[in-house]
Structure formats: structure tokens, C-alpha cells
């Protein structure tokens, strides 16, 4: 079902207005952060005057460089209005060398409170306990999941998985070590599932699969699974839905990261053939699928391209960041009057082997 043009243009107008507000915030000395104020002074133009629409942003801003998040001290990202407020430091990457760091205050709460409305009580009963099995440590995800559970009146158990270690041993082809580590993680999760009343699970597809091999997830009390983190090709989604969750447990795949937040997936319809499409939490974040060699251009619908993220919040302005992912560009779809990204996988997945590991 296609959305009517008025809905689409209203969403576009809302995005443009939100973007102008965020640009004004980050590029005004009384509110903005040192990095962007300094950037604008060196660039020699004022985004507040010249960027009036999201299309202008794409035309005028270069790609955000992830080195900035590695090399610069976090303080350069603190907006003037937030000076003095302690912040969270969230990390991503870091398998080798310095990880990327993003600071934040409330964005994760906003993102996950909004996402909560996508989760039905049938699969995520309010007040019933959650279990997160996945990367915790310095990641935004850990606080976000606990906040989401708490927001729904639920507590949350945790089992940690260190993806940096997994990537390291997989990169060194120490597959036995990777498997032993995965078993170690899964065993801890299974113990919790056996001894505590838990009805909702956040984990990665591979860990979910491994847990499903150790116990009957439905019999263990699980009713809903919220998944994210790695590639989920249609066949793999089908396998999870049909054979791991056996059609009895709700499945909610998401695409997200520390820099963007969380893109929810549109509920699967039979005609989707298990191809999952994610929609960014617009206007706070915008996902485009662009031509890798001409990143100013979006690819046609139902065509593969590289994922480009723009984050537009008062806590973070991150224009046109090229993710290390590729995806299929999809049409807007109710309730999301903007483009979606489908079948996300590591950029260049067809050309080379990517270490995604066990998580």
C-alpha cells in the first residue's frame, strides 16, 4: 500500500523544519558545540543561512569523518547549552586501536521510548523481565535496552558479549576459541532462562540460534525477541522465524548503532518474502541508500547501495556519515512516510569475506 503524497510531503516538511532547528542549534555560538563552530569558521560559510532543506544538507555538507570521533577529545562535541552536564560516553568499533566515541545525554532514552510503541504487549508483556545477551560494556545499547525494559515497567538481566574479542579471534582464524567463547556466553544465558522468569529477549541472531539449540525458548517463557546487530538476509530471517522461534515467538529485527539510534523494521508481510526493511527514527536520524561512487545520488528503489546516515539531534549533528553497510533502498511504507533500508549487510559483502563472527 503506497502512502498518499500529502503524508509524504508532510514528513519531508517536518524533516526540513527539524533539520533547520538542529543546524541553528549546532552552529549558533550560544548553543552549538566547539567542533561545529570551529568547522563553520574554517569552511567560510554559515549553514544556518545556506542550508534550508535536507536536500541542501546533502548538497553542502561533506561526509562526516569517523576519525573525528576517534581522534578528538569528547568535549569538542558538548553543545554550549549542555556545558556542565555530565555525559555518557558510548563506544563503537575498537577491535583494533581507538574506538569511535559518541557522547550523549538523553537521546537513547528518546529513541527507545519511541521504539517501545512498536512493541506489542502480547510479545513484550509490561512488567515481565527481559534478558539482554549481547555487547554491553561501553555501548549505548546496554543502557538503552535497560531503559526500554524499565520504560515498559520491566527489569532486565544481562549477559555480556565482547565483540572486539570475537572479531579478534575470528580474524586470526581461531575458530575454536570463538566457538568456546560463544558457548560461554550462551551457557550463561541459558542458566538465567532456566532459573528466572523471563519473557523478552534482546540478542543477536547467532546467539538466538545458539540459545534455541540449548533449550525450547517458548517453553522457557520467551514470547518476544528483539534482535539486531548483524546481517539478516531473508533466508536467515525465515530460518529464525520458522525454525528457531517456530512461529510462536514474536520477532522484531532492528538496525541500529551508537551513532544513529534505532531503526525499527516494518512488520513482515507475506509478499515481503522475509526481506526485512528498516525505517530510521526520522526526523532525528535519516538513512539514505546512495550510489557508492557518487554518494550525492540516492540509488533507485529496490536497488543496492551504500547506507548513509545523518543524525539530527541537539546532542549530535552527524551529517552524511557513510556506514560500512550496504542495503536495498525501499519505498516509504505505513507508518513510515520516508525511505527504508532493507537486507542490510556489510558494505562489499559480495566481494569479500567480512568478519561478523558469532554475535
Amino acid at each position: 500500500m503506497s502512502l498518499d503524497p500529502n503524508t509524504l510531503s508532510a514528513a519531508q516538511n517536518q524533516l526540513d523544519a527539524h533539520m533547520r532547528e538542529i543546524i541553528a542549534w549546532h552552529f549558533s555560538p550560544e548553543t552549538g558545540c566547539p567542533f561545529w563552530l570551529d568547522w563553520a569558521s574554517k569552511a567560510g560559510w554559515d549553514p544556518r543561512r545556506e542550508v534550508k532543506s535536507f536536500a541542501d544538507l546533502v548538497a553542502r555538507f561533506p561526509h562526516f569523518q569517523d576519525e573525528w570521533l576517534r581522534e578528538l577529545q569528547p568535549d569538542v562535541w558538548v553543545p554550549a547549552k549542555y556545558q556542565g552536564r555530565p555525559y555518557n560516553i558510548f563506544e563503537t568499533g575498537g577491535t583494533t586501536g581507538m574506538p569511535k566515541q559518541r557522547i550523549g545525554w538523553d537521546d537513547y532514552k528518546t529513541d527507545y521510548e519511541e521504539f517501545s510503541s512498536k512493541l506489542p504487549d502480547e510479545h513484550f508483556p509490561r512488567g515481565a523481565a527481559w534478558l539482554m545477551v549481547g555487547p554491553t560494556g561501553p555501548r549505548r545499547l546496554r543502557l538503552a535496552i535497560e531503559h526500554l525494559a524499565n520504560f515498559r515497567g520491566s527489569p532486565c538481566y544481562f549477559v555480556d558479549l565482547d565483540p572486539r574479542w570475537v572479531k579478534k579471534v575470528m580474524g586470526e582464524k581461531k575458530l575454536d576459541q570463538a566457538r568456546a567463547y560463544m558457548d560461554h556466553v550462551v551457557d550463561q544465558a541459558v542458566i538465567l532462562l532456566r532459573h528466572r522468569k523471563i519473557s523478552a529477549l534482546f540478542t543477536t541472531p547467532k546467539l538466538l540460534e545458539a540459545m534455541g539449540e540449548k533449550l525450547d525458548l517458548y517453553e522457557a517463557g520467551i514470547r518476544g525477541v528483539f534482535c539486531g546487530g548483524t546481517t539478516m538476509a531473508p533466508q536467515y530471517v525465515r530460518f529464525i522465524v520458522e525454525e528457531v522461534l517456530e512461529g510462536r515467538i514474536g520477532f522484531y529485527p532492528t538496525y541500529g548503532n551508537t551513532l544513529m539510534g534505532l531503526a525499527a523494521s516494518a512488520p513482515l508481510r507475506p509478499e515481503d518474502n522475509f526481506s526485512v526493511t528498516y525505517y530510521a527514527p526520522q526526523p532525528r536520524a535519516v538513512l539514505r541508500v546512495v550510489n557508492p561512487s557518487q554518494t550525492g545520488q540516492a540509488v533507485d528503489y529496490d536497488t543496492w547501495g551504500r547506507v548513509e546516515l545523518t543524525t539530527l539531534t541537539r546532542e549530535l549533528f552527524l551529517p552524511r556519515f557513510l556506514e560500512r553497510d550496504e542495503a536495498i533502498r525501499r519505498q516509504p511504507r505505513d507508518p513510515y512516510p520516508w525511505d527504508g533500508v532493507a537486507e542490510v549487510r556489510p558494505f562489499g559483502a559480495m566481494e569479500k569475506t567480512i568478519v561478523e563472527g558469532v554475535y
Partner: protein, 477 residues
């Protein structure tokens, strides 16, 4: 009916159409000839958890009945139209030959020869099992216990299934796993990327002959899926080059079928007769397009190495690609041209080390790597090496390749290294005794016998019965 056949995965015999499908293409024209369902490792794990159902299905049959089924399946495999996939397609024997030739690069004549090899293994399965079990009354496997030569014996399956990670190089290799079925062990088989046809056709022939479909797992899959088969099956065969097989070399649950490094040795007593053996050497090197692990890849002689290399080069060097349907075709095309590139580069690199010369070059009239009718071929190469230390002396490639190395007879066995087949042309009693004593040789041909000759009553490349079954001590009161 869809235009293209679709080969589903078979999960305990049940077709499973995956959303992840790849096309199997004609290596010359790029035309898609079928779609092949790919499954993820999780599906294999899921099915392995229920593998006892497959074993139970086979246990309903006696070994004797399964041998009859094999015999009948041989005829079906060779002569009948059999189902091809889940879209209503069938495949005649001629279509099988043409399709397999198109995707694997083997000329028709070689496909037919391999086809006959598979059919012959099915037909002679009773002889094969007799040899593998050393004459065991197979009723003992039906009952679990019995008597042989006055002793009580009992056997049990070491694993409820046999995992198979198959190669694409030559369809005849499928004959190695066939005994598993009359031994009542279900198979979990990953076909080679360019060669799903042969195992699929064998399975269909066995099912048509009355074998329970549950006995067959057919899982086109990726590296992770292959690893799962090798890890999860309890007993598995893996085929591949050294880089693939080395990691499993010390794993008793996995039988490794790596490079054969098969050889022909001529003793001091016979070397003056070397011209009489040139045809035998050439056919051992080049039959089946040089694609088998039982092809000779090294000729070891005490004298006349240069003359022998030259004679082999004169005979093999001029061989050139021919159309696949040509009954005299001797060379196979490479389904993956990059493999030919890397083989050619490896030989070039080896030739840069002093002490080796490619003798075929002067008889070939063209380059080693050749394009013909849209496909890439490697034309035969005979390399004269001054010692076993040369990097090209003990190598095996997927085309008619052999080194000729001169070594004193007394030094041969200390230098040849592990060899799947050795044909030793000698009447020297002491040398024969030393050959019989050597732990490096899997199959020994004493006398002028092609390394390519297979005798079904002589198990080689590991004894599948001993791999799949263990004898237990048993007392009864």
C-alpha cells in the same frame, strides 16, 4: 513448470526451497542451467539433531535389501530419466552428461566414464562391502551381533550419519560414499559448487530403487555450513587441497581426501625398458583430464629422466582443447577460470627456482593456459626436476601435470612422501618388499598398472566400513 530447474536442499529427503538460491552456470556461455537452494549452517544443525530418524529409516532395511537397491539404482543412474529438482523437471542420462559437462568443464567422454564408474560402484556394491568388511556376514550388521570364524562379534555405528563435503573436480569421487547406504548410515552431503548434479542424481536413483528418502541430506551451503557438517556429523569425509584439508589432518572423525600425489616409480631392473611404459605413464598422468587424485603427478626413475620427460612431453604436449562433445577430447575446461590463473602462476613461480625445466613447452605450440570456445584450459605440462627438493617435484594440479625426477632406487622411498597410489614397475624382490613395507603408500600397484585403475575389491582412500563401524566386545549369558 518454471523454465529453469530448481534443485532444493533435501532435509531427511524432503525438498526444501531456500530463499537464498544461486545459479549454476555453463562455464563457457555463462547461461544459467539451474537454481540451487543454499541453506545456512543452522538448518544443518537443526537437522542433525534429528538424524536418528534418518538412521531409523535405513535400519528398517536389511543390508541385503539395500545391496539389491544399489544394484537396481545403478541401472537407473546410468539409463533412466530421473527427477531433477522440485519444479517437475526430469533429467535423461544424456542431459546429465551435457549439463555436467557444461558446468564442470569435463568433456562428454569423461563425464560418461565417470558415470560408468559410479554405476559400476553401485552395481558391484556387494563386492565392495565384502572387501571393506573382509567377508563379514552382513546379517551381523542387521542383528548387531553374530559369529565369524568361531568368534562372537558385534558392531555398532560410530556415528548416526556420514558427513560429506564434496568437491567439483570429478563426479566419480561420489563412488567413495556410496557404501554408506547399504551400511545403513545416512548421508549429510554438501555438493561441490559446480557439481550438484551427480550426488542429486545418485540420490534420485537410489530413492527410485526403493531406498528411503530420509537417508539423504543434500545441503548446498557456505563455508560455515561445510564446517558444521564436518564438526557435527561424527564421521565425515572432506575433499580439497592442502589448505582445506590440513586443519582436519589429525581429527580421527574426519577422513581427509586431499591431494593424492600419486606416483610412478621404475626400478633399476626395469629402467632400460622405459619406452615400453610411456603410454602407461601418459595415461596415468592425463586420463580424466588429470583431475583425479589417483592421476600420477610424479614419475621417479633412477636413470633416463630427461629422455622420459621428453617422450612424455612429445606425447602430451600437443594435446589441445577440443569441443566437449568430441569423443577424443582429453582436456577439461576450468569452471572457474581464476583457478587456472592461479595454477599457471604457481607453475611459473616454480619454474623460476633453478633446477626445473618445462619440457612440454617446446611441443605445445602455444601457451600452457589456453582459451577455447569461451572456456579456459590448462594444456599438459611435464616438468623435469633435478631433485625432490625442487618446489615443482612433488606437486599436484587439476590438469595433466607431472614432474619427472631422477633418484637412486635406494633413495626413492625416503623421498616420495605420502602417496595415494604408487605404481612401481620392478621385479626386484627387495625393492618390492620395501614398497610393501612403506607406510607412505595407500594403494600399491606392483607392475605396469595405470594409477587410474580402480578395483572395487581393493578398498583405498580409507576403509569406509572401519570408519563408520566399531567392533565392540560382547558377552552373552
Amino acid at each position: 513448470m518454471a523454465a529453469l530447474p530448481h534443485l532444493p536442499a533435501l532435509r531427511r529427503g524432503k525438498p526444501y526451497a531456500s530463499l537464498d538460491q544461486v545459479e549454476v552456470k555453463d562455464c563457457r556461455t555463462g547461461e544459467a542451467l539451474a537454481r540451487l537452494s543454499q541453506v545456512n549452517a543452522g538448518i544443518i544443525r537443526k537437522d542433525l539433531a534429528r538424524i536418528s530418524e534418518a538412521r531409523s529409516a535405513l535400519m528398517q532395511f536389511s543390508c541385503d535389501r539395500l545391496l539389491e537397491i544399489c544394484h537396481q539404482a545403478a541401472g537407473f543412474f546410468l539409463n533412466e530419466s530421473l527427477p531433477l529438482g522440485d519444479q517437475g523437471h526430469t533429467q535423461t542420462p544424456q542431459q546429465y552428461v551435457e549439463t555436467l559437462s557444461a558446468t564442470s568443464g569435463l568433456p562428454f567422454v569423461m563425464v560418461r566414464r565417470n558415470m560408468e564408474k559410479v554405476a559400476s560402484a553401485l552395481r558391484q556394491m556387494r563386492t565392495i562391502l565384502n572387501s571393506l568388511t573382509r567377508g563379514l556376514d552382513l546379517g551381523i550388521l542387521d542383528r548387531g551381533l553374530g559369529e565369524q570364524a568361531g568368534a562372537r562379534i558385534s558392531f555398532y555405528a560410530a556415528s548416526p550419519c556420514l558427513g560429506l563435503v564434496m568437491p567439483s573436480n570429478s563426479p566419480g569421487v561420489n563412488s567413495l560414499w556410496l557404501p554408506a547406504i547399504p551400511l545403513k548410515i545416512p548421508v549429510i552431503l554438501k555438493p561441490g559448487r559446480e557439481e550438484p548434479w551427480t550426488p542429486y542424481r545418485i540420490i534420485q536413483a537410489l530413492i527410485a530403487a526403493g531406498c528411503p528418502a530420509q537417508a539423504f541430506g543434500f545441503y548446498p551451503t557456505d563455508h560455515e555450513g561445510s564446517a558444521e557438517i564436518l564438526r557435527g556429523c561424527g564421521r565425515a569425509l572432506v575433499f580439497g587441497d592442502k589448505s582445506t584439508t590440513a586443519q582436519y589432518a589429525n581429527n580421527p572423525a574426519i577422513q581427509v581426501h586431499g591431494p593424492g600425489l600419486s606416483k610412478i616409480l621404475i626400478g633399476e631392473d626395469q629402467i632400460e625398458r622405459w619406452p615400453e611404459f610411456i603410454d602407461l605413464m601418459a595415461s596415468s598422468i592425463a586420463d580424466n583430464g588429470g583431475r583425479s587424485c589417483i592421476n600420477a603427478s610424479t614419475v621417479v626413475v633412477p636413470r633416463y629422466a630427461a629422455e622420459i620427460a621428453d617422450a612424455l612431453a612429445q606425447k602430451l604436449g600437443p594435446l589441445a582443447p577440443l569441443p566437449p562433445q568430441d569423443e577424443t577430447a582429453k582436456l577439461a575446461a576450468f569452471a572457474n577460470s581464476r583457478m587456472a590463473d592461479s595454477i599457471d602462476a604457481a607453475i611459473e613461480e616454480g619454474l623460476r627456482s633453478p633446477g626445473a625445466v618445462e619440457v612440454t613447452a617446446k611441443y605445445r605450440n602455444g601457451s600452457r593456459k589456453a582459451s577455447f570456445e569461451g572456456a579456459v584450459y590448462m594444456r599438459p605440462a611435464i616438468v623435469l626436476c633435478d631433485s625432490f627438493a625442487h618446489p615443482l617435484a612433488n606437486r599436484e594440479f587439476l590438469f595433466p601435470y607431472a614432474s619427472v625426477v631422477q633418484a637412486a632406487q635406494a633413495d626413492m622411498l625416503s623421498q616420495i612422501g605420502p602417496s595415494l597410489v604408487v605404481t612401481a614397475i620392478t621385479q626386484d624382490t627387495a625393492f618390492r618388499a620395501a614398497l610393501l613395507e612403506s607406510p607412505l603408500i595407500d594403494r600399491l600397484n606392483l607392475g605396469p598398472i595405470s594409477t587410474m585403475q580402480v578395483a572395487w575389491d581393493q578398498p583405498h582412500e580409507g576403509n569406509l566400513f572401519e570408519f563408520l563401524y566399531r567392533r565392540r566386545a560382547l558377552e552373552l549369558s
